[in-house]
Amino acid sequence: MRGRLLVVLFVACFFAGCTSIDCPVKNTVYTVCDIYDGYGNLFKLEDTMYVFTTRKNGSDTLIYNAGVGKSSFTLPIGYSNPEDTLYFVFVNTDYAAKDTVLIKKENYPHFESVDCSASFFHRLTGVRSSRHAIDSIRITKDFVDYDASTAHFHIYFTPRH
């Protein structure tokens, strides 16, 4: 009885002395966009798609490169801007179009532990766009966190696409 008790106490002390870094494995925050045709059906975009944005110093930076045949894709979201401005460019052999998309949001600092990197979660409050290749964009999930399993935006394209 006494021996068993000592073993139990040793194991308990052993585990009490252990520490670990407990950060989530999925620790990136992205928006997920699904692509729909003019009739509301999920479809694969045949054009080559690029997405740009403008940095603090005024230079453009590519945040999505040469996507072809995609029906869903992810985009980064600004940590602290109240509104992100994205430029979608669609290129085909005989066609090129550019749309500007503005995403309004609220930003929330998110903390896991002092061992885990600082991150931000977001609440999407509005989206608007020009209407060249894109017909409309709808917010389908307004909270953006580590969960990228469901789409935040449904992007509807004009019938030509």
Binding site: T19, S113, A118
Partner: protein, 232 residues
């Protein structure tokens, strides 16, 4: 807003825990109940008091960036039952983590109330083996910040932090411990504790790190204490 644990979830968890305890208590067989019955002998019911101080939390505070000062007052009922109140003051000052750059600061009092039971057959010996439980609560404020850093895509400087964020936590502890008489009224002892959160309010940041009296959240549910005790 960020997803939070609903209070109904915590209440439900508490209700289920209490129900399980009640069901377990009812299902105890008569001979097991004997263990907890006061022994009939000439020893008086009220045997005295004991105060104790935890050296483990104190050492933790000296050697790391968090820890606590803690004392306890324990009543001795017939050397069998020991109602106890533990009161402490927990502190954390984690300044500029060398990897993440995050700083975390909090300090607040906490308390635990509960009861210990002497598990030894010879109840009236000067050494004891305890089993018991505690209910604990703390209300604390957190300062949490990081130096401005550039957004990796847009490059705008981004602030990260909250100050004086109000948080609170209720939790339960199961305790196993020993108490050995050294000389006169002085005893030394230690305890191992298994902790479960009942309800918690972590503020707008989503989570907290060091909770006064509970320790750091996430790495382990086990804790311990090393006590110096004085019989009164």
């Amino acid at each position: 807003m960020m997803p939070r644990q609903h209070i109904s979830t915590s209440t439900l968890r508490l209700a289920i825990s209490l129900l399980l305890v009640m069901v377990s208590a009812v299902s105890l067989q008569a001979q097991k109940l004997k263990l907890f019955r006061l022994e009939k002998d000439s020893i008086p019911m009220l045997r005295g008091f004991q105060v104790s101080f935890d050296l483990f939390g104190f050492g933790q505070l000296q050697l790391s960036d968090y820890g606590q000062y803690e004392g306890a007052f324990r009543l001795n009922l017939h050397d069998q039952w020991f109602p106890i109140v533990e009161v402490g003051y927990g502190k954390a000052n984690h300044d500029h983590d060398e990897v993440t750059g995050i700083s975390y600061k909090t300090s607040a009092p906490y308390f635990r109330v509960g009861v210990d039971f002497n598990l030894l057959k010879k109840k009236h010996s000067s050494n004891r083996l305890y089993g018991g439980f505690r209910y604990a609560f703390t209300s604390y404020k957190v300062d949490l910040w990081r130096q401005d850093f550039p957004d990796p895509v847009w490059q705008w400087d981004t602030g990260f932090g909250v100050f004086n964020e109000s948080c609170s936590q209720h939790w339960l502890e199961a305790v196993v411990g020993v108490d050995a008489k050294v000389f006169g009224p002085f005893h030394l002892g230690w305890s191992v504790r298994y902790k479960r959160r009942l309800a918690h309010q972590d503020g707008v940041m989503g989570k907290t790190w060091y909770v006064p009296g509970y320790g750091t959240w996430g790495d382990t549910r086990l804790g311990g204490s090393f006590n110096v005790m004085i019989d009164i």
